[in-house]
């Protein structure tokens, strides 16, 4: 029975109570004494001690923003009032104000150091698939050959200290046998890493899989998922992210880094009372942590703040803007001082060219934008279809085998092509790079010019025809493009931590570079065409394929995530190329428009809808002309609304009512006949109070009256003492009349963060509208299945 379920839950929680905080799960009920206020009107009975557990929320429920915010205001007022009394209280109030900044500093430090560790470990493990360093097994390929003098201009990364697996096992470095040994070892390591990743996730923290951004968006809008931002999730996500990235799968680490940063923030919130006890304040810190996550992923603090503002956060007060920026900067600085890239640079793909671009090049940039938009729309549809298949069919019953199969396919196909064998970030750096005489990679394999007079003094590789190396690179890149487009669809969403920024950027960069090289060769062979005449004379360096790669990367990422300003800012912080804002903006805008023509949702909103989270989209407009009475419950034909009366129900009756329904809250009325509204009480608070009263207070039996008013009604002398529950009732619930249009009601829900709203008619209580009802109604209007909204 439901009642026994609850009382056992409380038994167990109380027994483990003493000794501080055993768990760091999100929103765990505060077991120590010292409670939060009890609603917008603080009428705590002075004889009644605040109960632990009252004012907290159940798992998979939405918080009450209004209540949390007013609790915080009450607390702040109390501290300010007390601060005038003594110096200690004054210091307390100063430290309370300062605690927010201290928390941001700690979040930045912790997230920055974790990200530095993840970067170093990921670089090492990725290279472990190819070989080992003999002078110290902890060095990756680049660092192994760092001091060696045997590197040549053509072979920049070969040195005797680095041995590939073929050399160690078979003794040779060349020849078909060595190739096969390398191939097999590559597949072996990839399978081992992905197997470890998925078994660790499954065994210790199943919430650590996936990207994390859709769930964090939902959490920030007020939803509670206990354990999602806990310490085990943090540990497992950190460890398995490195394993997943190193296994060669087509995924990135940016989304999971946002999750890692939010876990750090949630854990550090437990050090400060102000944030531990208040869900709304905690979500302010989590918004800042999301900014920190993107900032350490890319080395882009401003882009991180804008990403948090645009994509992840629900309510973003201006105070959070400054604090997020501070935290993001601290994290970026910590990352820089750890120096994982070995060159003291904050940016990931530093672009060193400053070649100008011409207005006519906007046409191919817009073409890249269209490609990005098309790819984004296609990717979202395909990925959601694949994830839905994983959710509903037998494919979802074998997560470990699925991961192993996908890794095997990826490793099998990726090894022969050098552009898919390298990690995503390396591929993007190489594609963004502008070719000069100092480069010797295949992508810069241009032919020598016809007249070999060395008149130039710089190293510009201007205006040359493509050589054999470049042609090989081009068709390898085309194959890599097709492969990456197909494999990312099935990789994103697997049961290992997976992000999608780097794969999308890689797809866009490849497409951009191909187009750029095409344009460059077109210009070389046709200098006298109308479009090239004037600005692209023979010998001039007019077209930079690296810039096209950058623009393509931005377009594809924008098409998938539908980011706008934050994407442009991230791109130019990533590359340091401030001159290229206009092409980036043109491509991003085009890609967003084209992708929006196919479907309004980005990938994260699509995943939220797939999972049925109760997320009320803040950007959508409610266009239908229904009234509140159409959406409220109970509808015609349903049983009447379950209400409590203010002083005429006994404990037994209340328990029966609560047990027989699943509602998470009950309106309180003056009497059943008048149905005049008094307030609203939550199920959880009610059950905790009644259970506590039965145990602690004398004389409370099932026949005791439950009283929500200030003064108890007159009772015969032999009646058992009444239970006074004035402290847990919310005396100012929000109401609308039955003729309120639904768009105003939805606006109220969105702006105030309500969970439920009561509907009155001529002053009498008529029904209730919850957030779930609104979401179901919106789904029905859009011809979607209303039963897909799962949570409350």
């Amino acid at each position: 029975m439901g009642w026994e379920f609850w009382s056992k839950q409380l038994d167990e929680e109380e027994l483990v109570a003493d000794g501080g905080y055993d768990e760091y799960s999100a929103g765990s009920s505060s077991r120590a004494a010292g409670m939060n206020g009890s609603g917008p009107t603080k009428l705590v009975d002075p004889l009644e001690d605040p109960l632990p557990g009252v004012g907290t929320y159940e798992d998979f429920n939405t918080i009450d923003w209004v209540r949390e915010k007013s609790k915080d205001r009450d607390r702040h007022r109390e501290i300010t009032n007390k601060s005038r009394e003594s110096t200690v209280a004054l210091l307390h109030s100063v430290s309370d104000a300062f605690s927010g900044w201290l928390l941001m500093l700690l979040v930045g430090l912790m997230a920055g150091s974790l990200a530095g560790g993840i970067d170093i470990a990921a670089h090492w493990m990725t290279d472990l698939k190819e070989g080992v360093c003999l002078i110290g097994f902890w060095f990756n390929h680049e660092h192994c050959c760092w001091t060696s003098n045997e590197t040549t201009f053509q072979e920049r990364d070969s040195c005797p200290q680095w041995k590939s697996w073929a050399e160690l096992i078979a003794g040779t470095a060349q020849g078909p046998f060595a190739y096969i040994v390398n191939y097999l070892m590559y597949i072996f390591w990839a399978l081992l890493f992905s197997f470890l990743a998925v078994t660790l996730v499954r065994a210790f923290a199943p919430y650590a899989c996936g990207s994390g951004i859709p769930e964090i968006k939902t959490i920030l809008s007020g939803f509670i998922i206990r354990g999602y931002l806990g310490k085990w999730t943090l540990i497992i996500k950190t460890i398995t992210l490195v394993l997943a990235v190193s296994s060669g799968l087509s995924l990135g680490k940016e989304g999971p880094l946002v999750h890692v940063a939010c876990c750090c923030a949630n854990i550090l919130c437990h050090l400060f009372t102000k944030y531990r006890k208040n869900e709304a304040k905690r979500r302010e810190v989590l918004s800042a942590a999301a900014a920190v996550g993107v900032s350490v992923a890319f080395g882009a603090p401003i882009g991180g703040v804008l990403f948090s503002l645009e994509e992840v956060s629900y309510y973003f007060p201006l105070k959070t803007l400054w604090r997020s920026f501070f935290a993001a900067l601290v994290a970026a600085f910590t990352l820089r001082s750890i120096n994982p890239f070995g060159n003291s640079r904050l940016v990931l793909f530093y672009v060193e060219f400053h070649a100008p671009w011409h207005l006519l090049e906007l046409a191919p940039f817009i073409l890249l934008g269209i490609f990005g938009g098309l790819w984004g729309a296609l990717f979202i549809k395909a990925n959601i279809a694949w994830c839905r298949m994983r959710k509903t069919t037998r494919l979802g019953h074998y997560p470990v085998i699925e991961v192993l199969l996908v890794t095997a396919v990826t490793a099998l196909i990726a090894f022969p092509n050098s552009y898919t064998r390298m990690s995503g970030a390396e591929l993007i750096s190489e594609l963004f790079n502008d070719c000069s005489l100092l480069d010797s990679s295949q992508l810069c394999g241009y032919k020598q010019p016809v007249n070999t007079s060395e008149t130039g003094v710089d190293n510009n590789l201007a205006d040359r025809p493509a050589g054999a190396g470049l042609y090989t690179a081009l068709w390898q890149l085309a194959l890599a493009l097709i492969f990456k487009i197909l494999i990312t669809v099935i990789t994103f969403g697997m049961k290992v931590p997976s992000g999608l920024f780097i794969p999308s950027m890689a797809v866009g960069a490849i497409a951009g570079r191909l187009l750029g090289v095409g344009m460059e060769q077109l210009a070389y062979y046709n200098h006298d065409w109308l479009i090239f005449r004037g600005w692209c004379s023979p010998g001039a360096d007019c077209i930079t394929p690296g810039l096209y790669a950058m623009v393509g990367a931005a377009a594809c990422l924008g098409g998938v995530t539908r980011m706008t300003v934050s994407l442009v800012v991230i791109m130019f912080e990533l590359t340091g190329g401030l001159e290229y804002i206009v092409p980036l903006m043109a491509a991003t805008m085009t890609s967003k428009w084209v992708a929006d023509a196919f479907g309004r949702e980005g990938i994260y909103e699509a995943h939220i809808r797939l999972n049925g989270y109760p997320f009320l989209e803040p950007k959508e407009e409610f266009e239908h002309s229904s009234l509140a009475v159409d959406v409220m419950r109970p509808r015609r034909g349903d049983p009447a609304l379950a209400v409590l009366t203010q002083d005429s129900m006994t404990i037994g009756e209340v328990e029966t009512l609560v047990e027989s329904t699943h509602y998470s809250g009950f309106p309180v009325v003056v009497s059943q006949e008048s149905q005049r509204l008094v307030g609203f009480v939550l199920r959880r608070d009610l059950l905790i109070s009644i259970d506590n009263a039965r145990k602690r207070q004398d004389g409370i039996v099932s026949a005791s009256l439950v009283v929500f008013t200030e003064h108890c009604p007159a009772q015969p002398p032999e009646a058992p003492p009444p239970l006074r529950l004035r402290g847990i009732i919310d005396l100012s619930p929000f109401t609308v009349t039955d003729h309120t249009p639904m768009d105003i009601t939805v606006d109220i829900f969105r702006k105030l963060g309500l969970r439920q709203c009561l509907v009155t008619h001529n002053g009498r209580l008529l029904g209730i509208i919850t957030k779930k009802d609104i979401l179901k109604h919106m789904a029905q209007i859009a011809n979607r299945d209303p039963d897909s909204i799962l949570f409350n």
């Binding site: 120096n339 060159n343 710089d458 799962l790």
Partner: protein
């Protein structure tokens, strides 16, 4: 659990400190000069452990492949960069990472293989207390909780608290696993 978290926090602290404190090995700085092909001379890469002020073509490119009057033209094309790294940080990070990974794998092996065997041997087949078998309904975990609690009343000490916390944690992970892997309710 608290212990593991404490260990991780300690490791993080060490790591951040070490990255600042680790002595600047002479091996950890270098000046890398890349010189492109010039006339008959091939492209070359030169590396030397010099400090920032000496990081230019004349100090690093040895032996100079061209003579006297061509040196300036050759050096104009070379690009020299000063780079620093901290090999101590890399070493410490990788070792910490591998040890945490090893600990987790050992713990996983212990939980899945060794613990049921040990419990069965110690307590016999009759008591179902510590079995983390499939949960049939909502009642099962709390039925177990009552058994555990009744036992814990008799021996309230540190070991029991740890045991109890571990039981609770395992139940939570099981719930999470059910929602994510079996019912596909969260995180499709």
């Amino acid at each position: 659990m608290k212990f593991l978290f404490g260990v991780e926090a300690f490791c993080l602290a060490c790591f951040v400190l070490l990255s600042q404190v680790s002595a600047k090995n002479s091996e950890d700085i270098r000046c890398k000069c890349i010189c492109p092909p010039y006339r008959e001379v091939e492209g070359q890469i030169y590396k030397q452990n010099v400090s920032l002020k000496d990081c230019n073509c004349l100090h690093v490119v040895e032996p100079m492949p061209v003579d006297g009057k061509d040196v300036e033209a050759y050096c104009l094309r070379c690009e020299c960069k000063y780079e620093e790294r901290s090999s101590g940080t890399i070493k410490v990070t990788i070792i910490i990472y591998l040890s945490i990974l090893g600990l987790l794998l050992l713990y996983m092996v212990y939980l899945t293989l060794l613990e049921p065997m040990l419990k069965r041997r110690l307590f016999g087949h009759s008591q179902l207390i510590h079995s983390d078998d499939d949960v049939v309904g909502d009642q099962q975990p709390f039925a177990n909780a009552h058994n555990v609690l009744s036992r814990s009343h008799s021996r309230p000490n540190m070991l029991n608290k740890v045991e109890h916390a571990q039981q609770r944690w395992r139940r939570q992970v099981q719930e999470q696993r059910k929602s994510v892997f079996d019912r596909h309710v969260v995180l499709s």
